[in-house]
Amino acid sequence: MNNEPTSDRPSPGVVHLAHTTPLSDAIQGRLTGRLDIALACDRAGLPPSIRELVLQTAQATRLWRVERADVAHELIAHFRDGIEAGRTPDELIAAFGESLVAARLIRRAKKQSRPLSWKLWILLWKSIGALLVLSILLYLILFIRYHTGSPVVKVNPIATLNAPALSIPTEERAWNRYKLAISAYTKPHDDLMLPGAQWPHIPADSPYRDLALATLEANRPALEHVHAAAAMPRSATSSASRSNQTLPGPIMAVKSRRSMTPIGPTTRPRSASCSPRSESSESSRISSCSTRCSRESNTTPHVWL
């Protein structure tokens, strides 16, 4: 191994020196060329083997140019001290250890010494990168899933909605009776719909009274169903029993209003509905009629619907 110092390199030009001088030196008016590591090795008169080691280590650190030069200058000083102490280049190289290992450790240590602003900047970019990668990954997963998968209904919300109503025993479901009432309902006579008939507020001396009573009589079965339904604790309204539906419709389990208070002549009509507002107006009509029936025996002058 050739361990003789080499200094046959031509002197660097001003442009080269200017290019390899750090700003701090340039501000002081000195063209040091300190960033040129090879030049520093040559100036130090290091043996080629050590020169190569210094260059290799400095390059392998992959640090900033100024940091790299700083490390190289320290290594140059170190080896010069070693040579002056009487150590041979081979001994010094052996004592130095693996240059790549040294470079990796130096890089790690030097990066810790960098300013906080640089660390935050790197952290910011790493975060953005990680977010981007995650987004792309998520997009790819969803893309694959969208194009390869098929929707599977795992939850039946209608069944969930039906559960409370279905838990009610059949004989306690008022809605079944209401449906019977609706089926049994007979429409009032057309004459009762005339403005002069004052339906449903028919006075006692009205010529339409008999017609109204006949209508009520015709609706007696429906009213009985309504009475029976109103006596039940819960409505358990369900449209699932409709035969023309594949899926059951919305089912509501509500407490029926048991307070079917008879309505007096001067009281305002109350809603006699035993079902929620969504139920048909037919059932409420029937309910009102039931009130009327219950009061027939008391010969009340008005019928409130």
Binding site: H73, L75, A77, A85, F96, G97, E98, I106, A109, S113
Partner: protein, 124 residues
């Protein structure tokens, strides 16, 4: 005999801080002192020493400065106040470890240990 890498990882920085406690030193000087004063036990390759120095500097335990006093520039390291505190703390911890080792019969007696360890005695 050189110590294992894991042990060296804990002992190396304390040894360096201890050497820098009284005076500032440059890299090669540290290498030589570590080797001679520890009887070669704490001798470490420069590939380990310089990264350690940079790491200690990064933590603010030591500070470096370039000086051109001896014909050529050298980088001198000195202990900072933070480094002194760390050295005191680490020294205390090492003493406890040594006492524990003595109690276990792994290390020698305190008297013998203090006499045999160059770093603990005549470092100056």
């Amino acid at each position: 005999m050189k110590v294992e890498r894991e042990l060296m990882r804990g002992a190396g920085p304390v040894a360096v801080l201890k050497l820098l406690e009284r005076q500032e030193m440059y890299g090669y000087e540290l290498v030589e002192r570590l080797s001679t004063q520890s009887g070669g036990v704490l001798a470490m390759g420069q590939s380990t020493l310089y990264p350690m120095l940079y790491a200690l500097e990064g933590k603010g335990l030591i500070k470096s400065v370039w000086r051109d006093d001896a014909e050529r520039p050298r980088r001198y390291y000195r202990l900072t106040d933070k480094g002194r505190k760390r050295l005191a703390s680490d020294t205390e911890q090492w003493q406890r470890v040594i006492q524990a080792m003595q109690a276990l019969g792994i290390a020698g007696t305190p008297r013998a240990a203090s006499c045999s360890h160059p770093l603990a005695g005549g470092a100056a």
